[in-house]
């Protein structure tokens, strides 16, 4: 700091046309380093301002001047400037230091908060706030981009949670609960619903994405026939989703994997109960006989081998949300 200033002072020797006594060489000597200075007193802060100083009246700053000597020479000015500089530096660097400490403290505080489902509660609150914002903006009329057949990429087998071995698909049934009465469906019941085909992007929360062709029944078509109740307990209608209970939960037969969905995402027209993938029946690795294709969510919500669907106004458990991830994960 001092070196820098000395260099600049040396440079001032080149200057010409100074109005006052040229005290250039002395200025350097007149600079006290901060070590040499006696402890500063607060009285410095209350000194008169530059209005009284002729020499540097063009200065943009209100500089305190010496209270005993008149500020008529450059060396006095320099001393005043140095005092002001020290005053501003003290204030500035104390603020910066305090800010740095506060930041470090806040970071530490954040990481020592009790966790809710694997993530510190303020960050969990952050997810929930984001969810509120997203739900405000979400429209079921906004569709995910669809692709041409030629854009389909190699299917990726990712995750076998809930896909226990030795599963006999012929015994598969879909249990639907939370409506007027529990319903059990077979694959034939699902196939009787209108068949919908779409080529969409499956976006994994890890960052990769693939383009997949899905065929199956719209979840909303199923929910039209087996409606969830309204929140007031009356019979619901999926065309009036704001009245319905707010959630849909799904589980695999062994309950090894489970997802929770908000109602609007569940009734989105591109949310399918898929039984075909890339023009072939779903393989067991991909969740045969029935998986969820839900491009308005990250891939982890695309639950395989769905065994049960439950309507509820209580937020359903979600496998990855319990591991520190966002529950909503909506696109």
């Amino acid at each position: 700091m001092i070196d820098e200033e000395k260099q600049q002072v040396a440079g001032s020797e080149l200057e010409v046309g100074k109005a006052e006594t040229d005290a250039g060489p002395e200025i350097e000597l007149a600079f006290p380093t901060s070590d040499q200075r006696p402890a500063t007193s607060d009285s410095e802060l209350a000194l008169p301002t530059s209005d009284q100083r002729p020499a540097t009246s063009d200065s943009e700053l209100a500089l305190p001047t010496s209270d005993l000597r008149r500020a008529t020479s450059d060396s006095d000015d320099e001393a005043a400037i140095q005092r002001e500089l020290r005053r501003l530096s003290r204030r500035g660097f104390i603020t910066l230091g305090a800010g740095a400490l506060a930041t470090a403290g806040a970071w530490k505080w954040l990481h020592t908060r009790p966790k809710i489902d694997g993530v510190e509660w303020p960050l969990r609150r952050g997810f929930q706030v984001n969810e509120k914002v997203a739900e405000t903006y979400f429209r079921t009329s906004r569709l995910t981009r669809t692709f041409a057949q030629s854009s389909i990429t190699n299917a990726r087998i990712n995750g076998g949670l809930g896909l226990g071995p030795n599963y006999d698909a012929s015994t598969w049934r879909l249990q639907i609960s939370g409506g007027e009465k529990p319903v059990t469906l077979t694959m034939d019941d699902i196939r009787r619903l209108p068949k919908t085909t779409m080529i969409t992007e499956l976006r994994c929360i890890e960052g990769w994405s693939i383009v997949v062709k899905w065929a199956g029944a719209r979840l909303s078509d199923l929910m039209s026939e087996i409606p969830p109740p309204n929140r007031d307990g009356s019979r619901g209608n999926v065309r009036f989703p704001s009245k319905l209970v707010r959630y849909v939960g799904m589980e695999t037969p062994d309950r090894g994997y489970y997802v929770g969905l908000d109602m609007e995402s569940a009734i989105h027209p591109q949310t399918l109960l898929a039984y075909e993938m890339n023009d072939r029946p779903l393989t067991w690795q991909h969740g045969a006989p029935l998986g969820l294709a839900i491009p308005v969510k990250y891939g982890v919500k695309n639950i395989k081998r769905i065994a049960s669907i439950r309507y509820s106004d209580v937020r359903p458990a979600d496998f990855w949300a319990e591991q520190g991830y966002d529950w909503y994960l909506g696109h």
Binding site: Q8, E20, I27, S59, R203
Partner: protein, 221 residues
Amino acid sequence: MKRLEKKHPLAIRWFHWLNFPLLMVMIWSGLLIYWANPVYRVGLGTHTLFKMALPELRWEKLGVAFRLAEGLSLHFFFMWFFAINGVLYVLYTLISGEWRYLVPTRRSFVEAIQVTLHDLHLRKEAPPERKFNGAQQIAYTAIILAGLGSLLTGLAIYKPVQFAWLTFLFGGYQMARWFHFWLTIGYVVFFVIHVAQVIKTGWNNFRAMVIGVELREVSND
């Protein structure tokens, strides 16, 4: 003689120093996320110069492996503060007129080349004595545009259905992600050069970003 000259307004100093830890957290959490699928590389065609990835063991040694959930929770929390701070900064420069010092003019580009040559010791004349020289104007404006790019590409990969038009504008989900990643690398490069330049320019200049004023040589006229 010397005098103190106002350089950086208080608001800009606050925006600057708040942005520093916020950007660090965004980059750090972004790295935790990127670990889960580190696909980018530098190369031409099929020839790869180097991958933007580390061997799995190295990721783990650095302690950034298996922290995707944490990265997401931090990224989607601090994104608000990062964005708000940036937006307020831009609004402030617009309203206060500070943008006049920051936005490049026609001569900035020639000047930027001269400044660069000077910094590389290939040119004798020093940069002009203005608040920001041409190279700075271009750098500080570009970094704001990069920030805007990060917000938009971030939104495009955060909500690719609700903002499908935006994702489409960036050339699709993976392209938006590509831009989002390389913009971040841009920040890192900016940061390294920025810090090096600040060190090179010296204490008086650095201090001005903390206390607002700079000690300047002036001739009495």
